[in-house]
């Protein structure tokens, strides 16, 4: 099963490598990984989505907690959460295709952030499923490039 882990870490050199090295060294999977600073000085938050059975996820969480530079680990899959990912998607958009693409952009409530003679760059935010749906729809026009942030997530206020 897929789990989203929210990991609070000391923001010091090597911390990313400690976390990623733990995953590779013990044969765990990282599906997506996102790191950014928090409001607190010297503390960053990592969001990792990973897959594994109960026993593997339990090991991953314990092993992460064992790292000295890891302050806190929360498995957001265990609680109600909001999950979002952002993606930039560059799609071929020659005359004749463009109107159809813009209609899809509309339906998906995403936006065009860059326009070229024969291509469009679209920004979309949503769950993994929504991003996958857009990719599937855009495939027939010819996707040139995508860049995704990986999931970020937060516990919902009302549990």
């Amino acid at each position: 099963m897929r789990h989203i882990l929210s990991i609070l870490v000391e923001n010091e050199p090597g911390v990313l490598s400690r976390v990623s090295g733990l995953f590779s060294g013990r044969g765990f999977n990282i599906e997506t990984l996102n790191v950014a600073p928090t409001l607190e000085d010297g503390v960053s938050i990592m969001t990792i989505s990973t897959v594994g059975d109960e026993q593997i996820i339990e090991q991953i969480i314990k092993q992460l907690r064992k790292l000295v530079t890891v302050i806190k680990v929360v498995d957001l899959t265990e609680v109600k959460n909001v999950e979002r990912e952002m993606m930039l998607l560059k799609v071929s958009a020659e005359e004749g295709k463009r109107a159809e693409i813009l209609r899809i952009v509309d339906v998906f409530r995403c936006k065009v952030v860059d326009v070229g003679f024969d291509e469009l760059t679209i920004e979309i935010t949503g769950t993994q499923d929504k991003l996958t749906a857009l990719i599937n729809l855009m495939q027939r026009f010819g996707i040139k490039e995508i860049a995704r942030t990986g999931a970020v997530a937060m516990r919902r206020s009302m549990q």
Binding site: V9, E10, P13, G14, S17, R18, G21, L22, G25, Q55, E58, Q59, K62, Q63, R65, K66, L67, V68, T69, V70, I71
Partner: protein, 566 residues
């Protein structure tokens, strides 16, 4: 008071109670070495290879329970310690490794003798540091010593660039450490203790399975008390040997691949297993799906990651083993007081005694005038010393025979690389233990293969007159691999025959140590006695039966009861 980085380091080592440390100089640590004469309370042991230094620090730590310290230079000096760091990591041994590093402005430029040792050792240290700010040096050292010996102990490395060793700052050594990401949990949960006590009272076939955690937490007395008071048989892992007296009726012997018949059958038929400070290593469990299938599993460990890692545990307990065992003994006493009592496990004890009597550890004795059996050498050491010595081992057959045929009675009397299985470990570890206990008899049970991996430390032993006794069980083979080739690889002895070896007697003499050779069983005890009485380092080269095997044996991947017996 302003001190240089080098002075801060040495001053702080003193504050941490370090009396001896092991090292080898080089360009990136000259500044530290320049200061060593100013700290006469810190005895420095100059080794001949950095691997020797880290193993000595490790042996010192295992024998004393204190933190072992080693100091090496950047680049190759640092990488030479990696095997020893991994050895200490696998066996949870507290060591602090100080490595020199090129000056900070050169880091990342592929400078002379530069290596990213923090990157290299990240997966085999408990934690490591690259110090880039002189004002954080004292705090870093304090943290390193705290981390090394608290929670589940382990090696901690500090990489110290040369320019920081020269920079100055006001020195103040912190009294306390606080790290928000590190809070080992020591105290046992009261309800869990009660639950285990009730399980133990109800159990008909209980077994205590003790690991290295019993020794590192100092729980031996409590484990022994529990076992003796309520009649619970005890088995231990290689790392746990010495935590329970080997001559006690409750003692089953070591379990696992080369464990005793009684231990492996007891664990397989147990209805309750108290796993104390052990980690269900594959060499212990054999085929996992058939390991102790009838038992309710209670697992006590300070490290949460050890629990539920390999086997499913019914009662997981994260706690310090000593504190837990103390609490359990109290709880048991309370239950007995309440009148509910803990019925004796008479039938079970009869059964385990029968297993012990049926298949004790044994070997085919040598034919008259035949070659000496390696097991008899270990037995002779046990007999001569009456168990009053520290045994270090190398890795392979020598290690298993040293584990099987010596009666360990006290914790910290066996120094052996259990997890990593590092050949070349024993001799330097023995030197480290000897440096801690100059008056004690320290013996390295070695093979002719592994002794050659750190043999250069003979110079160190002679130089500091650390009179370690090396007893080589010389079979002319890399015996354990040869045994596997014999049993599972059609006797294809590919590259395991060490027919070209030095004359160990002359080698010992060349280094200024004493050398002895034994080829006849009748000379064995007298020669060992003579060597043990010689006040300098000795090699006793015992020529043994070349194709003797370690038995019992559970072939890799088989269940514990599928044992090959003698």
């Amino acid at each position: 008071m302003e001190l240089t980085g080098a002075q801060i380091l040495l001053e702080s080592l003193g504050r941490e109670g370090v009396d001896v440390f092991f090292g080898f100089p080089g360009g990136a640590v000259i500044d530290i070495y320049h200061q060593i004469p100013n700290y006469p309370n810190l005895k420095h042991v100059l080794v001949r290879h950095e691997q020797g230094a880290i193993h000595m620090a490790d042996g010192y730590a295992r024998a004393t329970g204190k933190v072992g310290v080693c100091l090496v230079t950047s680049g190759p000096g640092a990488t030479n310690t990696v095997t020893g760091i991994a050895t200490a990591y696998m066996d949870s041994i507290p060591v602090v490794i100080i490595t020199g590093q090129v000056p900070t402005p050169l880091i990342g430029n592929d400078a002379f003798q530069e290596v990213d040792i923090v990157g290299i050792t990240r997966p085999c240290t408990k934690h490591n540091y690259l110090v880039k700010d002189i004002t954080k040096l004292a705090k870093t050292i304090k943290e390193a010593f705290f981390l090394a010996q608290s929670g589940r102990p382990g090696p901690v490395l500090i990489d110290l660039p040369k320019d920081l060793q020269q920079q100055k700052c006001v020195y103040s050594y912190p009294k306390k450490v606080s790290m928000r990401g590190y809070n080992p949990h020591y105290d046992p949960n009261v309800k869990q203790v009660r639950k285990v006590a009730e399980l133990l009272c109800k159990a008909k076939h209980p077994v205590i399975y003790a690991g290295g955690g019993v020794i590192s937490s100092g729980a031996s007395k409590e484990v022994t008390k529990l076992a003796q008071t309520y009649g619970v048989p005890v088995t231990a892992t290689l790392m746990g040997l010495g935590c329970f007296p080997g001559d006690d009726p409750m003692w089953l012997g070591m379990l696992g691949m080369h464990g005793t018949y009684a231990a492996n059958h007891s664990i397989s038929n147990a209805d309750l297993i108290l796993a104390v400070g052990a980690r269900f290593d594959d060499r212990v469990t054999g085929k996992l799906s058939e390991f102790a299938t009838k038992a309710t599993m209670v697992h006590i460990d300070i490290d949460p990651t050890s629990i539920q890692k390999n086997v499913h545990v019914h009662v997981p307990i994260v706690a310090d083993c000593r504190l837990f065992m103390e609490a359990l003994n109290k709880e048991m006493a309370a239950i007995v007081e309440e009148g509910e009592g803990c019925p004796p496990k008479t039938k079970w004890l009869e059964q385990t005694a029968e297993w012990k009597a049926k298949h004790p550890l044994k070997y085919k004795p040598a034919a008259k005038g035949g070659m000496i059996k390696p097991q008899s050498v270990v037995e002779a050491i046990d007999k001569i010393t009456k168990g009053d010595c520290i045994i270090a081992t190398e890795v392979g057959q020598n290690q298993m025979w040293a584990a099987q045929f010596f009666n360990y009675k006290l914790p910290r009397t066996l120094l052996t690389s259990g997890g990593l299985g590092t050949m070349g470990y024993g001799f330097p570890a023995a030197i480290g233990a000897q440096a801690a206990f100059p008056e004690k008899l320290v013996i390295d049970v070695a093979g002719d293969g592994s002794i050659q991996m750190c043999i250069q430390e003979l110079a160190t032993a002679v130089c500091y007159n650390l009179p370690v006794k090396i007893v080589i069980l010389n079979n002319g083979y890399l015996g354990m691999v040869r045994q596997w080739q014999e049993l599972f690889y059609e006797k294809n002895y590919c590259n395991t025959c060490m027919d070209v070896a030095p004359d160990f007697v002359k080698l010992a003499e060349a280094y200024g140590a004493a050398g002895f050779r034994v080829t006849q069983a009748k000379d064995l005890e007298a020669t060992l006695k003579e060597a043990f009485a010689t006040p300098k380092p000795c090699i006793v080269d015992v020529v043994v039966d070349p194709e003797e095997n370690v038995y019992p044996m559970v072939p890799a991947g088989k269940s514990l009861t599928e044992m090959i017996l003698v």
